[in-house]
């Protein structure tokens, strides 16, 4: 962004300043029209498929509508006031926040840790590890759900089976049936799915940090952890910020697809997240307007969280 933006700004001011008039081809009056015409298709598509639907979500959240009929009844902010009296919505909201916080911290922390080990320590076979950790990211969510269903199976599952084999029967858990555990079962699947992706992102930015910095610091007697916190972290900070925002957005979506494939929101709504509850209301319960109100809350929520994250992590960019 920063390297690209100055040149376009320059020609706009240059002709009026009269510094380099003959070097640049002069703009003919028709040029502006031509450029505008070239931009129109993209702008129309963008407006039609991005802006209009988004505006529509906001508009429809003010109506009571089943999704099909021509009768839309304007109800103002009624849908929103109902939301806050709806215990299932509150539970879905709490679940979403819990997933967001826990999964983000665990994924980011583990991703950073693994990336640091793989770039800084001369680990044998690290390409294999990177490959193995990255694979879950290219798997379809349905496959992931099937894998975890096999892992979590309360009788013959890999986890409970291993616990039994080690005579730790007391530690066995009904992973997808216990209402206090099911959300964390989904969280584990989410971490497993996204860990490799973020690890690779961090590895690439860590690899670009010049080796001299580490050599110099080790001559000064810095330990590996000191190097990590005082050299690696500050120098990949911008990357970290970007991925954090990415992650907040994608975690909202990923939690929905995984919940739908693995638990369907159950047992008895205990693993419901915002998007799955929105789907249930908009379609299964024929309350499209109410569903859109939930959509608006999700939009506002992810927007706010991203903004807060971006504000809270703002630092002066460091260069090497």
């Amino acid at each position: 962004m920063t390297t690209l933006s100055p040149p376009p700004a320059a020609p706009a001011t240059a002709p009026s300043a009269g510094r380099t008039p003959e070097k640049r081809p002069k703009r003919k009056p028709g040029d502006g029209l031509f450029v505008a015409l070239c931009l129109v298709p993209a702008l129309v598509l963008f407006a039609l498929f991005m802006i209009w639907p988004t505006v529509n979500v906001f508009r429809m959240s003010l109506f009571t509508w089943s999704g099909f009929s021509p009768n839309m009844r304007f109800v103002g902010l009624d849908n929103f006031t109902k939301l806050f009296d709806d215990p299932q919505f509150i539970r879905a909201f709490q679940n979403t926040i819990a997933l967001l916080v826990v999964v983000t911290i665990v994924t980011m922390g583990a991703g950073l840790f693994l990336a640091a080990i793989m770039t800084r320590q001369n680990l044998r076979g690290r390409n294999v590890y990177r490959f193995v950790l990255y694979i879950p990211n290219v798997l379809s969510v349905v496959v992931i759900a099937a894998i975890f269903s096999a892992l979590y199976d309360q009788e013959n599952g890999l986890i409970n089976g291993t616990l039994r084999a080690m005579s730790l029967d007391g530690l066995q858990v009904v992973w997808l049936g216990d209402q206090k555990v099911v959300l964390w079962s989904v969280a584990i699947a989410m971490v497993w799915q996204s860990l490799g992706y973020y690890m690779v992102l961090y590895m690439s930015s860590m690899a670009s940090i010049p080796e001299e910095l580490y050599e110099a610091s080790s001559l000064d007697g810095a330990s590996a952890s000191r190097q990590f916190f005082d050299i690696t972290m500050p120098l990949i900070w911008q990357n970290l910020r970007t991925t954090l925002t990415f992650f907040v957005m994608s975690a909202v979506n990923l939690s929905f697809v995984l919940v739908r494939a693995m638990t369907g929101g159950g047992p008895d709504g205990s693993s419901e997240v915002l998007l799955s509850y929105m789907y249930k209301q908009a379609y299964t319960n024929s309350s499209y307007g109410y569903g859109m109100a939930i959509g608006v809350v999700i939009f506002a929520f992810s927007f706010l969280v991203s903004l807060l994250v971006s504000r809270a992590t703002r630092r002066e960019p460091l260069q090497f």
Partner: protein, 433 residues
């Protein structure tokens, strides 16, 4: 996405696709859910119909998720002429259109003569199959959905296991509890369910069994304080007791991924009964099973000895959207679906229509299930919760069925369950006024 891209291309190129064929020939579009009966029977029926109407073109759209395919077009105002799709699906398209009053009144079709025959549709249908909440969703005597296929649902069990142990299938709840204790001693659980949603047939039959059909209708139409009645409490009492006998693995497997494992526990003799429908035979046909296994079906036990038992009957529906273009042709086609010719084609695929004299066409593997209707103490029960205007955040089916998971795990009490049902029912009653 692809559809949207095509629409966009259409807009950009500036060509508006013309759906209208030339004058004289009509295109009747039929959309059907590809259920357990397969798609072959539909093409056969349509071919047979086309043979009689050479000037008519009939297109068939059939899919396992037909809602996803026809909804986008319906939102854009392009409706299929005939839709074969029942209620109780996750996408709830039929329910949504009912709530919207966007379905054509088919009462006149009942009085139409079946094409090529001399009887009317009403005369062909089995008594009592229309005129309930499943066909007349507003309870005003007008029929909007015609019953297509019917199948008994109830408690499925392993006949072989009962024979080996000399157990009798319980006819009353007291016998049920006694059997539950006997089986427990052998390490077998009395009850399980695939997912909590499968409890629909169980609850409908139990409501009618406890309080009679009138009480059942009161519950389905959200009568004031119906969930505070002693009958409602008795229904929840029986259910809570039954759930205390549930297989320990039930809740952990009661999700989209694992529900077949709950069904498998019947095949493995780990549980005795589960609520299900006749499709289970086909669904689990490749699954391993205990020696001497044979599917059996029984209605719910009677509340007191000799009282009426109910067999919740699942009925698929055919309907015409109000937005359909060729309504007259569609109605003629719907009437044809009840002809002997069509019924025979459907029955060959195990799709049994509720027409008189169909019993002889039921394939042998399912004949036992349909024979239950012959028992004088057993009544068919059709219907489901009445449609009201949508109420945001209120899903009484979810409250009634899904809470079973929390009752088994102890996360909710029977009192909380009753209170939540009362609350949901009351909100729906007000919306239905």
């Amino acid at each position: 996405m692809a559809g949207a891209a095509l629409t966009a291309l259409g807009l950009l190129v500036g060509c508006s696709g013309s759906d209208d064929a030339g004058a004289g020939s009509t295109t009747l579009s039929v959309a059907a859910l590809e259920g357990g009966y397969g798609r072959e029977m539909y093409t056969q029926v349509i071919d047979a119909y086309k043979a009689k109407h050479p000037d008519l073109d009939v297109t068939l759209q059939i899919s396992k998720s037909i809602e996803d395919e026809i909804s986008p077009n319906m939102k854009a105002g392009r409706f299929p002429d005939v839709v074969v799709l029942g209620q109780g699906r996750k996408a709830a398209l039929t329910e949504t259109l009912i709530k919207d009053k966007a379905i054509e009144d088919l009462t006149p079709v009942l009085q139409t003569t079946v094409p090529g025959e001399s009887t009317t549709v009403a005369d062909k249908l089995t008594a009592g199959i229309v005129g309930n909440l499943n066909t007349d969703p507003y309870g005003d005597g007008k029929t909007f959905l015609l019953p297509m296929y019917y199948a008994p649902t109830g408690l499925f069990y392993n006949k072989g296991l009962f024979e080996q142990n000399g157990w009798a299938v319980p006819a009353t709840w007291d016998e049920m509890w006694a059997l539950g204790d006997t089986a427990k001693a052998k390490g077998i659980s009395l009850f399980t369910y695939p997912t909590a949603g499968y409890l629909d047939s169980y609850f409908f039959a139990l409501l009618a069994g406890v309080g009679g059909e009138e009480f059942y209708t009161q519950v389905m139409t959200y009568q004031q304080d119906v969930w505070k009645t002693p009958q409602a409490r008795q229904v929840l009492d029986i259910t809570t007791k039954l759930l205390s006998y549930a297989a320990p693995t039930t809740v952990g497997y009661a999700n989209e991924q694992d529900f077949t494992k709950n069904q498998q526990s019947i095949l493995d003799n780990k549980a005795l009964f589960m609520p299900n429908g006749t499709w289970i035979v086909g669904e689990m046909k490749d699954a391993p099973r205990a020696d001497g296994f044979a599917w059996g079906l029984t209605p719910l036990p009677a509340v007191t000895a000799g009282s009426k038992r109910y067999l919740t009957t699942s009925v698929e529906s055919v309907w015409i959207p109000s937005g359909a273009k060729n309504k007259d042709a569609a109605k003629d086609f719907v009437a044809y679906l009840y002809s002997d010719e069509a019924a025979k084609i459907f029955a060959a695929s195990n799709a049994i229509q509720p027409v008189k004299g169909i019993a002889t066409s039921v394939p042998a593997e399912n004949a036992d299930f349909y024979e239950l209707y012959e028992d004088a103490d057993v009544s068919a029960l059709v219907g489901g919760f009445a449609s009201t205007a949508p109420v945001e955040g209120v899903d009484i089916k979810g409250t009634l069925f899904d809470t079973a998971n929390s009752i088994i795990s102890g996360d909710k009490t029977e009192d909380q369950w009753q209170a939540a049902l009362q609350d949901a029912s009351e909100k729906l009653r007000q919306a239905g006024k």
